[in-house]
């Protein structure tokens, strides 16, 4: 037993077995360690990859990070089917079983309280993008005549530039108002919410600027309603506020809600 313990989540004991063919990080099957009535779900991983130094180096490797993140998420997803897991951050590694037990003992009360709070809840992610069409970005407002190649006077040029700037400003203002309204509506249908930093377009490869990147905690039983609400907003955004795109992800384990409320 020379492997380290990579812990995915802490849960209450669950009756149903995990899928037999499920593999976790490093291709290792997830196992359970029961202590003080809580379950730590972990994989035994090689120290050559998961000790502090190699792990740090690996995290700089996008392919490795991708594979590990997907494997981690695969286990969390499987747990979400049978219970409400309390997910740990990627890369939480212990030396041995006794390290895992000590961690459970040290945090037992918080774990129980958090599991109680999250029981039966899932997280939904909602993002809003404001899309600027290339023409708009380059040649001003959509109503500006497309007279490329024609000479313009300095005054016309300046006028066009200022119209363009105003249109741009209006667009961001509209985008922010749209996102603000949507967030308020969704909050009214969720138990809790968190705002994540907007995603960098270089990383996401998504078109447009990410103006809202939020997570909502919703009881499983009310998730269908929540999804329908977001879908309706998508339709509205197509009609009412052009250039807005709404994206929904989930259901996720409640990653964004594991910390106690901070106000």
């Amino acid at each position: 037993m020379t492997g380290l313990r990579y812990v995915y989540a802490v849960c209450r004991p669950f009756g149903a077995p995990l899928q037999a063919q499920l593999t976790g990080v490093a291709g290792a099957p997830p196992r359970q360690l029961v202590h003080h009535g809580l379950v730590a779900v972990f994989s035994e991983v090689p120290a050559s990859d998961f000790a502090e130094e190699p792990l740090r180096a690996h995290l700089e490797d996008l392919d490795w990070l991708t594979a590990t993140a997907r494997a981690h998420q695969g286990v969390i997803d499987a747990l979400t089917v049978v219970t409400t897991p309390l997910p740990l951050r990627l890369g939480t590694v212990f030396h041995d079983d006794s390290g895992v037990r000590t961690m459970i003992e040290a945090r037992e009360r918080v774990f129980r309280r958090t599991l109680e709070r999250l029981e039966g809840r899932v997280e939904w992610g909602v993002k809003v993008y404001a899309e600027v069409s290339p023409e708009q970005a380059q040649s001003g407002t959509p109503s500006a005549p497309a007279v490329s190649g024609q000479p313009v006077s300095g005054r016309d040029y300046l006028r066009r530039r200022s119209t363009q700037a105003r249109a741009h400003e209006n667009m961001w203002q509209q985008a922010e108002e749209f996102a603000g309204r949507l967030h308020a509506t969704l909050c009214a249908h969720a138990e809790d919410s968190r705002l994540h930093n907007p995603q960098n377009a270089t990383l996401s490869g998504a078109a447009g600027r990410n103006v809202l990147n939020a997570a909502y905690l919703v009881p499983r039983s009310r998730s269908e309603e929540f999804v329908e609400l977001v879908d309706r907003t998508k339709d509205e955004s197509k009609g009412g506020t052009p250039g807005m795109r709404v994206e929904l992800t989930g259901p996720w384990a409640a990653y964004s809600f594991v910390e106690e409320e901070q106000t």
Partner: protein, 62 residues
């Protein structure tokens, strides 16, 4: 079992949760990887990888 169809989750969405969310356990018990620094390290790694993989902004249209 899920309400919406499952499609492959985008890596950024995943990392928003796995690197910025989840219970952080630090201290002598762990190898102290689950640290806030991680987010910064990885985003740097991601940005440089993305830049390396996509030399031209017009190369790839998704």
């Amino acid at each position: 079992m899920t309400v919406v169809e499952r499609r492959e989750v985008a890596l950024v969405d995943l990392l928003d949760r796995l690197l910025a969310g989840g219970v952080v356990i630090v201290g002598d018990l762990t190898l102290r990887i689950a640290d806030v620094d991680l987010v910064r390290i990885d985003l740097n790694a991601l940005i440089s990888s993305v830049n390396a993989q996509v030399p031209s902004p017009f190369g790839d249209s998704q």
